[in-house]
Amino acid sequence: MNTCPEHIIDYMHDYLDGDISREHEQELKQHLHSCSDCKQLMQELSETIAFVKSASHITAPPHFEESVMARLPKPKSRVGMQKWIRRHPLFVAAAVFCLFMSATLIGNFMDDQHFSVTKQPNLVVDGQTVIVPEGEVVKGDIVVKNGDLIVEGEVDGNVTVINGQYMASSAVVSGKIEEIDEAFEWLWYTIKNSVKTALTFEDKEETK
């Protein structure tokens, strides 16, 4: 076999792959007739294939399908969600409305992060702290946003402090005192205020 041309073995494999040209097949067959070693090798290779091919078919164990389905990640219930939305248009409209409303209000709140104070004569502003000095009387309401208010004198009106602290020692405030810290309180305050303005507006209309 050592004297056999090397390509004969390649031809054997090509033959076994079913991928051999007619000329090569002729050459291979002629060689196998004359060379018993190669004939045996060819025989062994064919038997090897037959051996592997005699492997029985293996089937998946029972419940394989169920096990796979149980292992799948939970579906993003897009289909169910869409159905639900289609069935409850009113609710969806309300939800969308609420979403936009709160978005605008919270957005306003976020915008209002800078310090501001109602302009009143004889108020002293020191950085972010507003002081009503001792002995002074402020006539009218005071609204402080994002700052503190210290009242040492007198205020003849309402006091509102948003996102800040109200401090008073011996203060005299004739109106209401309100401290607002959270976004929700601020929301509530805004709503209350707009209702109040609406009402006073109506009152004014009526008095006219």
Partner: protein
């Protein structure tokens, strides 16, 4: 069959998970068989075959429906099997000297369970013997031999599944056949 499979794939992509059950039931035996022949262990094969389906499900949107689904599925499964085989290989060197011994290397420490004694092999049932011989093949030959002679796939398909040129597939099949022949002849 391809039309049915593509229909089911579209349903799954639309969010109907139950349509995937049909796909699993169509291919479960084929996939399990490949895994079993590659790994030679029932528990492991079941685990890997299931994992292959789960991965197929999760990556279904990347499947090109103009191609053959089984090829894609086989590819996921064979990759998982090859990964598993590689992980099982020890990452220590066998010729490293064992600490505390003189001249004893790791070869002397492993039980000879890789090569069974001749008498034992001869007593094996044919089916066990086939699995044993396939399992003895180096994994790069094992995958092509399993796909070619057990799954009876074309060389072209095997080249797509294993993502290697047709020439390489042929060479590996030739060498795999040769290796198997030698294994069988040694007895």
């Amino acid at each position: 069959m391809d039309a049915l499979v593509n229909k089911r794939i579209k349903q799954v992509l639309k969010g109907d998970q139950n349509a995937f059950a049909d796909i699993v039931s169509l291919y479960q035996h084929k996939l399990y068989q490949v895994c079993y022949r590659m790994l030679g262990n029932k528990q492991e094969s079941e685990d890997i075959a299931q994992e292959a389906f789960v991965r197929a499900y999760m990556n279904l949107h990347t499947f090109d429906q103009k191609r053959k689904f089984s090829t894609w599925l086989y590819r996921i499964a064979t990759n998982l099997c090859i990964d598993r085989i590689r992980k099982k290989k020890p990452d220590y060197y066998l010729d490293a000297e064992v600490a505390g011994t003189e001249g004893l290397d790791m070869y002397s420490q492993i039980a000879a369970d890789d090569q069974l004694p001749e008498e034992q092999i001869e007593q094996m049932e044919l089916q066990d013997r086939i699995q044993y011989e396939i399992g003895r093949l180096p994994d790069k030959y094992r995958s092509v031999i399993v796909l070619k002679y057990i799954e009876e796939l074309s060389l072209q398909e095997i080249s797509e599944i294993l993502d290697m040129p047709l020439g390489t597939v042929k060479t590996r099949i030739h060498r795999g056949r040769e290796a198997l022949r030698k294994q069988l002849n040694n007895l």
